[in-house]
């Protein structure tokens, strides 16, 4: 009774609070000054750009540290930042960046040496940075990070070169036993009986040509390097502060930054408040005096804080899908395609899903248009690389929705009755499970897919949810049965960030699928000089991936979040990284509906 009364009261509260006479959701009262309040997601793990590995951290790091290039606030493409210009060498295996005159927040000059220091530090094995792999294409970076050794001929003083890549030195395991095993193989005969010298930080392919010129030497062509260096791992860190304060250097009072803002207060799980950095090279464009991040995880809490006007914007994917019907009519709702694909992977190493026909049949029998409609904020896809994200990239299309063909494929795979027709009863659902990590949206998607297969194939595949870390282990060890959830948010604006997931052995993608032709096409693509030719080769590789179907692409996400009308200079972009230096509070309501 009481429950009913309360619930009715709240229901009416919900209706009145979202009154139709306002174009905006909840309270719209701008702060008196230039203060931005933003919900940034989970508590950041680390604000050290080299150490951080998660998106919530990156959102804050965007305000503290500048990169060589930055994400364009509208398109997410790279734009000049600490580097004003750059040029590749003839085969994209080397890049020269020209740096602007800039200083750290303590007044020290920020030079090419800082980049050299930062990359070497980031790759130091003892630092154990999780995103160090981002830099592995830089010459000798992987060898240094792995603690490897080079083989040097004492007689000639020359290093043994890598037979697979003659421009690079051969790196051997630092561990003696592992090295001995490897040297025993015939291919490694060239490296026997040499002097083995540890790879040093100085061997990593980054040089300060002069104070304002920085050069990267790469082990292979990486045409998208200028996009990649926007990632926090490549951002310079202040040597002077790190040497003085050790791992405490990111704390308020100790931190030295290169970006537009500096940390003033940091109370874990509560608030991170930033103030302006007056020594920032572009300080003239910065309008905010104070930038406050709230680390909050609960979606309903975020919506409440937003509606009551306590915060002015939220990070991406924060509008629960059932709320979109209510919220999308307000001008607060921000929506743009995101650099992300939601999918499932098939276990290609055991069970019915080892058969490529079964994988195709399961893919074909999901009506992805209906699924996208059900999920409300997403766009259906049959491809792995997000559609319409990369102009000029000829996205290959996967199987269309076709339950009839799906049944035929299953019949061909042997799931037939005595008459040779497809018979759902013969399909071993007991060897299948839709495995996902616990979350409301993952569950909804899994339930929908289960219903689709039930309707279109007549099989009921059970669901199984797991807590995140258990799930990750189960998936990477290929211990799951049949199907597991998988999703990827691109690290940089290039199709390669999606395709490289399937490039290496070791189940990085959780499907167990490896294909040398796929790898060859990607490598050839990256070596191609002409961008159009590169995209063509990458698309061929993707086509191969879709033909083999170790993955089941479902939809491309959208960056649905909320923003008060008085917050300007903040756009919905595919990477949902906001350039905080352009954000400001517009106090004049007549300008709230202006395009920017």
């Amino acid at each position: 009774m009481g429950v009913l009364a309360l619930a009715l009261a709240t229901a009416s509260a919900a209706c009145t609070a979202g009154s139709a006479d306002s174009a905006y959701f909840g309270k719209v009262t701008p702060p008196t000054g230039q203060e931005m309040r933003y919900i940034s997601g989970s508590e950041p793990e680390s604000l050290d750009p080299s150490m951080s590995s998660s998106q919530p951290d990156a959102r804050i790091i965007m305000a503290l540290f500048d990169g060589l290039t930055e994400y364009d606030p509208k398109t997410g493409q790279s734009v000049p930042a600490l580097a004003t210009a750059w040029e590749p060498n003839e085969d994209n295996s080397g890049f020269t960046f020209h740096l602007r005159a800039a200083t750290w927040s303590d007044g020290a000059a920020l030079t090419a040496e800082d980049f050299v220091y930062s990359l070497r530090r980031g790759l130091t094995p003892a630092l154990a940075a999780r995103t160090a792999y981002m830099a592995y294409d830089i010459s000798n970076a992987q060898a240094y990070n792995e603690g490897a050794v080079f083989a040097r001929d004492d007689a000639t003083g020359r290093f043994v070169m890598d037979p697979a890549n003659p421009t690079e030195r051969l790196a051997l395991p630092g561990d003696e036993a592992a090295r001995a095993t490897l040297l025993a193989t015939p291919a490694m005969a060239i490296a026997r009986n040499k002097r083995y010298v540890a790879v040093r930080a100085e061997d990593v392919g980054i040089d300060a040509v002069d104070a304002h010129t920085l050069r990267y030497r790469l082990r292979q062509p990486v045409p998208f390097l200028p996009k990649m260096v926007s990632h926090q791992f490549f951002r310079p860190v202040p040597q002077q502060a790190i040497e003085r304060h050790g791992d405490q250097w990111t704390r308020p009072g100790k931190i030295v930054v290169s970006g537009a803002f500096i940390i003033d207060t940091w109370r874990p799980y509560d608030v991170i408040a930033l103030t302006r950095n007056p020594l920032y090279y572009d300080a003239a464009v910065v309008r905010l005096d104070r930038l406050v991040f709230y680390p909050i995880e609960d979606l309903t809490t975020m919506m409440n804080l937003y509606k009551s006007g306590e915060v002015y914007a939220t990070f991406n994917h924060t509008v629960p899908s059932s709320w979109t019907a209510l919220v999308k009519n307000y001008k607060d709702y921000m929506d743009a395609p995101e650099l992300a694909t939601e999918s499932f992977v098939f276990n290609t190493t055991k069970g019915p899903t080892t058969d490529v026909r079964v994988r195709h049949a399961m893919n074909m029998s999901i009506d992805k248009v209906s699924l996208a409609r059900f999920r409300r904020t997403v766009k259906p896809t049959t491809s792995t690389v997000p559609l319409n994200m990369f102009p000029g990239y000829p996205s290959p299309m996967g199987d269309p929705f076709d339950p009839v063909k799906a049944k035929a494929l299953l019949a061909a795979a042997g799931y037939t009755n005595a008459a040779g027709e497809y018979d759902p009863a013969t399909f071993p659902v007991s060897e299948m499970e839709i495995t996902y990590n616990t979350s409301e949206s993952n569950r909804s998607t899994a339930e929908f897919i289960q219903a689709q297969w039930k309707q279109n194939l007549g099989v009921t595949v059970p669901l199984r949810n797991m807590e995140f870390r258990t799930f990750l282990q189960t998936r990477s060890r290929l211990e799951y049965r049949g199907i597991a959830r998988s999703g990827w948010i691109g690290d940089y604006m290039d199709p390669f960030t999606f395709l490289s997931m399937y490039m290496f052995e070791g189940g990085e993608n959780g499907s167990g699928w490896v294909d040398s032709e796929f790898q060859r096409l990607l490598n050839d693509g990256n070596r191609a000089q002409d961008p159009a030719e590169r995209y063509r080769l990458l698309a061929l590789a993707e086509q191969r991936l879709l033909d083999a179907q170790p993955t089941l692409p479902l939809y491309n996400n959208a960056t649905n979040y909320l923003k008060k009308p008085f917050v300007k200079g903040m756009w919905a972009n595919p990477v949902t990284m906001h350039a905080w230096k352009f954000v400001y509070i517009e106090h004049d309501p007549s300008k709230w509906d202006d395009a920017n």
Binding site: L4, A11, F448, A451, N465
Partner: protein, 324 residues
Amino acid sequence: MATPSSSPAVPQAGAPGADAPVAGTSLWKDAVKRLRKNRLAVFGFVVVCLVVTASLVGPWIIERATGYTYDYIPTDPALVNAQPPFTAPDGSFSWLHPMGTDDAGRDILARVLLGGRISLMVGVISTFVSLIIGITVGATAGYVGGKVDEAIMRGVDVLYSIPYMMVVIVLLAFFGGRSAIGQLVLLFIALGAVSWLTMARIVRGQVMSLKSQEFILAARATGVPASRIILRHLVPNTLGPVIVYATLTIPSVMLLESFLSFLGLGVQAPLASWGSLAADGIQNIAVFPWQLICPGLTMAVTLFSLNFLGDGLRDALDPQMRKG
């Protein structure tokens, strides 16, 4: 200062009455008689029976009548969205979904009824298990006292302190079985492992306070064995707080169950329990309030009724009340 009364021993549960040749039968007969006089308790009993029956046969009837099951997502994409109770897609009155539908267009009534099976089973079985373990452990510790009490209660303290989540994660990793039955057994183990701890403390406190009373001293003096004293004399006299605490345990294990399903323990989606339905509903309270109100109200009414029934039982079994 309260002094123990000088009056003769308090009548005990199961004490032979003039009209009862067999003590046990008399206790229960009397209790049932008193229970039937308690109108609230009878009301509670009827409602609980109704809910149980509806949970058992309801989903089957709904499927026969309308074709809806707990996991039926309509094939027509236009129907895959939340509909208020008693409303057809065009907004007119309809009997199709008396509790409305969820975001996927599934019938909430069917889901609530099926969820009732899970939640009631979880609530009743786990509470029963916690009663048995809690009373045994608590009464033993309280009655024997000394080193035994010390050891048992420190053991209980250790169990309080071990991170429960880790236990569940590990349990799942090792026994997270293939079969649905195995999952269910695991769920009861996980729920039973915690819910008896406070129960044991409460029983122990009561027993410690009772054991120096005259009727216990008298029983001991006449050489009644300890187990008999505990079972026949002490436990019945602690039943008041115990039954109350048991009725409190039912909702808390029902909610604990929805937390465990977050870790992957218990029933798997698309099956849902009342706890998980309410947890889903709360997120949409501002948008689709019926998704919270319908499961929430069903759960509340059931718990209210269980509680009235529990209170009635408490009064009916109360040895002192019986005297009057």
